[in-house]
């Protein structure tokens, strides 16, 4: 099926197999390998991308379902080579270790902060509880996201 998806601001057209997931389409067809696959059954959250403003599991969505949508992946967060405030804050906070879950956390947190700029730690942890990190014990990630929120509030 022919589809057109706006990915990180650029229109991309293609004809993926009907059974191809959005994650595989992004990774294989569009060569955006920043989106990672950790379980392919919608639990770990590594493949999270933002589709039309909402964080979704790209392993549970077919590419053809994204036709006409706007998709943001981890590659779309930094603008003109400058890290987004969330990325910068997570760097400053030593947020991650192996980096495999990182794109999912970044996209989940981006979507969450968008709607909850004043989030407290408990609601942030709840919002991130669908993303699994095996390395950090989460504290450094939570601290990084809270730091980003604080910086963004201060403009």
């Amino acid at each position: 099926m022919d589809i057109t998806v706006t990915v990180n601001g650029a229109k991309r057209s293609g004809a993926p197999e009907a059974r191809k997931t959005l994650a595989d389409y992004l990774r294989d067809d569009l060569e955006l390998t920043g989106t990672h696959l950790g379980c392919e059954h919608g639990v770990c959250g590594a493949c999270t991308v933002i589709v039309d403003g909402r964080a979704v599991r790209s392993c549970l969505m077919l590419a053809v379902q994204a036709d006409g949508s706007e998709v943001t992946t981890v590659e779309g967060l930094a603008a003109d080579g400058e890290m987004a405030p969330l990325q910068q804050a997570l760097w400053d906070s030593h947020g991650f270790q192996c980096g495999f879950c990182t794109p999912g956390f970044l996209m989940q947190a981006t979507a969450f902060l968008d709607g909850h700029p004043d989030a407290d730690e408990a609601s942030l942890r709840e919002a991130l509880s669908g993303n699994i990190c095996r390395c950090t014990g989460y504290q450094s990630i939570v601290d990084g996201v809270l730091l980003a929120a604080e910086r963004m509030r201060q403009g």
Binding site: T35, E40, C44, A46, W91, C98, R134, S140
Partner: protein
């Protein structure tokens, strides 16, 4: 990158140089590699725990358009050189060596055992092809647990062994066990069980094998803790000379002990690439990872303990049985480490230790963060149980029995000197931080309100790097190598055999080298993951802080001396009068004389500004600490809430505090997961019950509390290198810490706990039927 301002980089939480790529989606993991003409692999796997393979029909799969190659176990044998499993032979410790093939030929030995390899133009087509393979099996009785395995009438999993003994029974005694028990005021007997759980890195096993027919050489892109061990395995099994194999590794999505060497699947994929003359990628899915990649721990311990009425721990006599799974991994050697480590930092007159290893139809026992951790669980658990029976506070009993940090040091009854061990200090520090007495008052008051709070402590030491041997004078970890070079553009390059997969070596080693050589942090590069460039090495065993940190420190000094010798000619000065400060070579005390390191490097021309360094661990020593958890157990639902988690640890000098704390918190999180959530479950027929993340539950941001960390940093043993390993301790000591707290909370119900996995349903059972 922004300029980093620090007096010294070492000791500061320098921001990681790994992060700009990782945070922007430009990390390069195996699955991100795309080579021209690359094919994709999928495996047909056994649905049975134990069975004979009667026939394999691959004809339909071979005819499927897009399928390029289909290989049975027999095919793969004809494409490879038979031989022992490299890792099993390295870790075997003289135990019986079963005979088996890379893919199953005559028998399948666990659910998920690979039987047929299908290679196709895409992963989806490879999986389509795998669906078309028909395998007929004759099911055999499953050896689903150690008790069955040790019954001589059980069906042998490996025919050549004739039984299911992975490690024959053995017994060793240290000190006079019989008289310690005969003279004890009291003796206790317990059976302590640790359940099977597993590493579960977020990236599973993966490789791309790329054979070049023209040169007859193999390039393997791997996710591995050691590119050189992987290279050895590939060369051995493919019958290639070592120089014809190159293993490369980029970013790796975690491992925790799982990814050492090359797995049976990866070797089969390499063989297929050679036959096809095209690159072949294999990335296991989560089901394969959970089912077949490897599991750890499942061990039982019959423990006898001799104590005095005052609470002196006199002797232990332990009988351990380990379930090593089907194919050999690390299970054969784990009892040896457990035996040596069981006394921990405690005074003890005697230890009896016997062990037996069982072969079962389960996934291979692999290394998992602190593979010997069960010794700490057993010891720290029984101390609590006995202390309460004697009417002592467990902390009081620990303080009574733990060694003092004396010179000369006390020895463990199993031999090693406990040099520089600060266990007592860490216990006292944790007790201060949590205010045990205030907690006890609150606990008592809340019980009246129907709230059940508990406090648990546990302590550990880790041989990272361990003390020098009293007899041989050798360190425990052997030697660590590093090549260091000043490139002609002025960059100091470190080539290390460490293969980071989250440990931040590209940052921490650069911090040390920058300080020692005298250049800004940004002027140091750390090269990893290429067998053509880096020396032999392996990331694991909490090795790198001391061993690689040490070789980076001494190597950078060696390189500096060499550069100064060369600069002395250039500057017409005496090398002894020169120093390197902030990237400039200058006559000491005369900054106006300075020329930049980059300029010196430029002038070097044919002069080789490179050194090979090696390091033996220096004076060595122990890493360790004490953890404390305060929990609340909801006795209606069985849910455990961790109210507070406090760590006092001593890993000597910190290279990068944020990295150290990340290692501790990550380890504690895995320990919490092991107790409250995670279990690699099999039914009585050996069917695997936890092959998805809905069944194998991992802790989330809502399950792991803030973890407070206090650093002692009190062990200056070596004149130069006082960094100690910290990677495994959290995972080693968190389970007993948490279980001790849970039992403490449930004291009013008479609950005593001799197991490690405590999901809500099990907590409720324990409350209803206390042991």
């Amino acid at each position: 990158m922004a300029e980093i301002l620090a007096e010294r980089y070492t000791g500061a939480s320098i921001k990681r140089s790994e992060d700009p790529r990782i945070l922007t989606g430009r990390g390069r993991y195996v699955d991100d590699i795309k080579l021209p003409g690359m094919l994709h692999a999928a495996f047909v796997r056994s649905p049975l725990a134990h069975g004979k393979v009667l026939s394999v029909d691959v004809s339909a799969a071979r005819e499927l358009p897009g399928v390029v190659g289909v290989y049975t176990g027999a095919d793969v044998e004809s494409m490879t050189v038979p031989g022992p499993d490299l890792l099993a032979s390295m870790m075997g410790g003289g135990v019986p060596m079963p005979e088996f093939t890379l893919l199953a030929t005559d028998k399948v030995r666990l659910v998920g055992d690979p039987v047929v390899l299908v290679v196709a133009e895409s992963r989806a087509l490879a999986e389509d092809g795998a669906e078309l393979v028909e395998v007929d099996y004759d099911e055999l009785p499953a050896v689903a647990n150690a008790a069955t395995a040790l019954d001589p009438s059980s069906t042998p999993v490996f025919d050549n062994l004739g039984n299911n003994i992975a490690r024959p029974h053995s017994r060793n005694e240290f000190g006079d066990v019989a008289s310690a028990f005969a003279n004890a005021d009291r003796t206790y007997e317990f059976t302590v069980n640790v359940h099977r759980h597993q590493n579960v890195p977020m990236e599973g096993r993966a490789c791309v094998a790329d054979f070049d027919a023209a040169s007859g050489s193999m390039t393997m892109y791997a996710a591995t803790q050691s590119v050189h061990v992987a290279k050895m395995a590939v060369a051995m099994r493919l019958g290639l000379e070592q120089d014809k194999v190159r293993v490369l590794a980029g970013d790796i999505g975690g491992s925790f002990g799982l990814k050492i060497g090359a797995s049976r699947e990866e070797l089969a994929v390499a063989a297929a690439s050679r036959v096809l003359g095209r690159p072949v990628k294999w990335v296991e899915d989560r089901g394969e990872n959970l089912t077949t990649s490897g599991q750890a721990r499942e061990e039982s311990f019959d423990v006898r303990v001799a104590v005095s009425n005052d609470g002196d721990l006199l002797a232990l006599d332990v009988n351990m049985v380990i379930d090593t799974g089907a194919y050999p991994g690390m299970g054969g050697m784990v009892p040896n480490i457990i035996e040596g480590m069981l006394p921990g930092p405690y005074k003890m007159q005697a230890l009896g230790f016997e062990s037996t290893g069982a072969i079962t139809n389960k996934a291979t026992y692999v290394a998992y963060r602190g593979p010997w951790a069960s010794e700490t669980f057993v010891r720290e658990r029984i101390i609590d149980v006995i202390a309460k029976d004697l009417g002592l506070d467990p902390l009081e009993m620990r303080l009574r029995n733990v060694v003092d940090n004396t010179d000369p040091p006390a020895n463990m009854i199993t031999g090693r000197p406990l040099v520089g061990v600060t266990t007592k200090e860490s216990m006292q520090r944790v007790a201060e931080l949590v205010d045990v007495e205030a907690f006890r008052r609150r606990q008592e008051a809340e019980r009246a309100n129907g709230r059940y709070l508990g406090l648990g402590m546990a302590t550990f030491i880790e041989a990272a790097p361990g003390p020098r041997s009293a007899e041989s004078g050798q360190g425990l970890m052997g030697m660590e190598q590093m090549r260091l070079r000043l490139d002609d553009d002025g960059i100091v390059v470190l080539f290390t055999g460490q293969m980071p997969h989250g440990q931040s070596h590209q940052t921490t080693l650069a911090q040390i080298a920058a300080d020692e050589f005298g250049v800004p942090f940004e002027q140091v590069r750390v090269v990893v993951g290429d067998t053509d460039q880096v020396p032999f090495g392996l990331t694991g065993g909490s090795r790198s802080a001391t061993m690689t940190g040490g070789v980076a420190l001494h190597g950078a000094r060696q390189l500096k001396a060499k550069v100064l010798d060369f600069a002395a000619n250039l500057m017409e000065a005496n090398a002894d009068d020169l120093d390197i400060v902030d990237g400039r070579v200058e006559v000491r005390g005369d900054p106006s004389s300075a020329i930049t390191v980059t300029e010196v490097a430029h002038q070097a021309g044919d002069v080789d500004l490179e050194v090979q360094a090696s390091y033996d661990g220096g004076e060595g020593g122990w890493s360790g600490g004490t953890h404390c958890a305060i929990v609340e157990v909801d006795v209606e639902t069985g849910l455990v809430k961790i109210e507070r988690y406090v760590v006092s640890e001593d890993c000597g000098a910190l290279i990068n505090p944020a990295v150290v704390e990340g290692q501790i918190r990550g380890g504690v999180a895995q320990g919490i997961g092991a107790v409250l959530l995670e279990r690699s479950a099999y039914d009585e027929n050996g069917n695997f019950q936890s092959a998805t993340f809905m069944d194998y539950l991992l802790p989330t941001a809502c399950d792991i509390p803030r973890i407070e960390i206090d650093h002692l940093e009190t062990v200056p043993l070596d004149a130069h290198v006082n960094f100690r390993g910290v990677g495994e301790g959290g995972m080693i000591v968190a389970p007993p810490t948490l279980v001790n707290a849970i039992e403490d909370a449930l004291t009013p119900f008479g609950v005593r706990i001799f197991e490690q996995h405590l999901p809500p349903a099990r907590i409720l059972e324990l409350i209803e039927t206390p042991t």
